[in-house]
Subunit: 121 residues, 2 copies
């Protein structure tokens, strides 16, 4: 089997949409995703899945019930299942996500932002 | 619940040992680990676990049966379970690992390099 490495910058250059995670890897039933965020997302939670946000470029805010996290390049946070969170980014931010393959981007808050079928890039 | 972010640089500054992964996060039965590598590791495989290597600084080589991968900063590879691999790094490299909590660093090749009980930092 021939294995290939993934270069984050080159994958990030291949798309421009915001709030539309792309699958770049799969292991142990988990997906590695890349996404670009800008503006406000919806407050939501995932009933079954813990979710990791790692900032590759820019600055990501995650609003929780009683605190707001500010994540800069080289920082990550794990949002445990059941915890309501609202990502937002005044300027464009590039993020790597690590979560179960079953995870829906808007969790329990389906809206026009929901992406049910993710592209693999 | 108060959540804290993790800063990779500050975690990496907190240890110096090579080939001794430290746990920096846990989600969905998976561990996020940081490690510093320098020199040669052993050829090994994991029977049950896929393993992700993401390079934070430096250059990581992974020797496989019929190819050698060269990973630079911002690049990752997923080594599927059952695939023999030998990481090596002529110069120090800092790496983030994603893998099931059950993963043993030397897989099926127990040696003096085996670390059975990992620190959480």
């Amino acid at each position: 089997m021939e294995l290939s490495k993934i270069n984050l910058d080159s994958k990030l250059k291949s798309f421009n949409e915001y709030w539309t995670p792309k699958i770049v890897g799969e292991l142990n039933g988990q997906h590695v995703k890349l996404a670009k965020f800008r503006g406000d997302f919806v407050m939501h939670k995932h009933e079954q899945e813990d979710e990791l946000f790692f900032v590759i470029s820019g600055k990501l805010f995650i609003q929780l019930k009683s605190q707001t996290l500010e994540l800069n390049v080289g920082e990550f946070v794990i949002i445990p299942k059941g915890i309501e969170h609202k990502p937002y980014a005044p300027e464009e931010v590039s993020v790597m996500l690590f979560e179960p393959a079953s995870t829906l981007n808007t969790g329990d808050s389906r809206s026009e932002l929901t992406v049910s079928k993710l592209d693999k890039i």
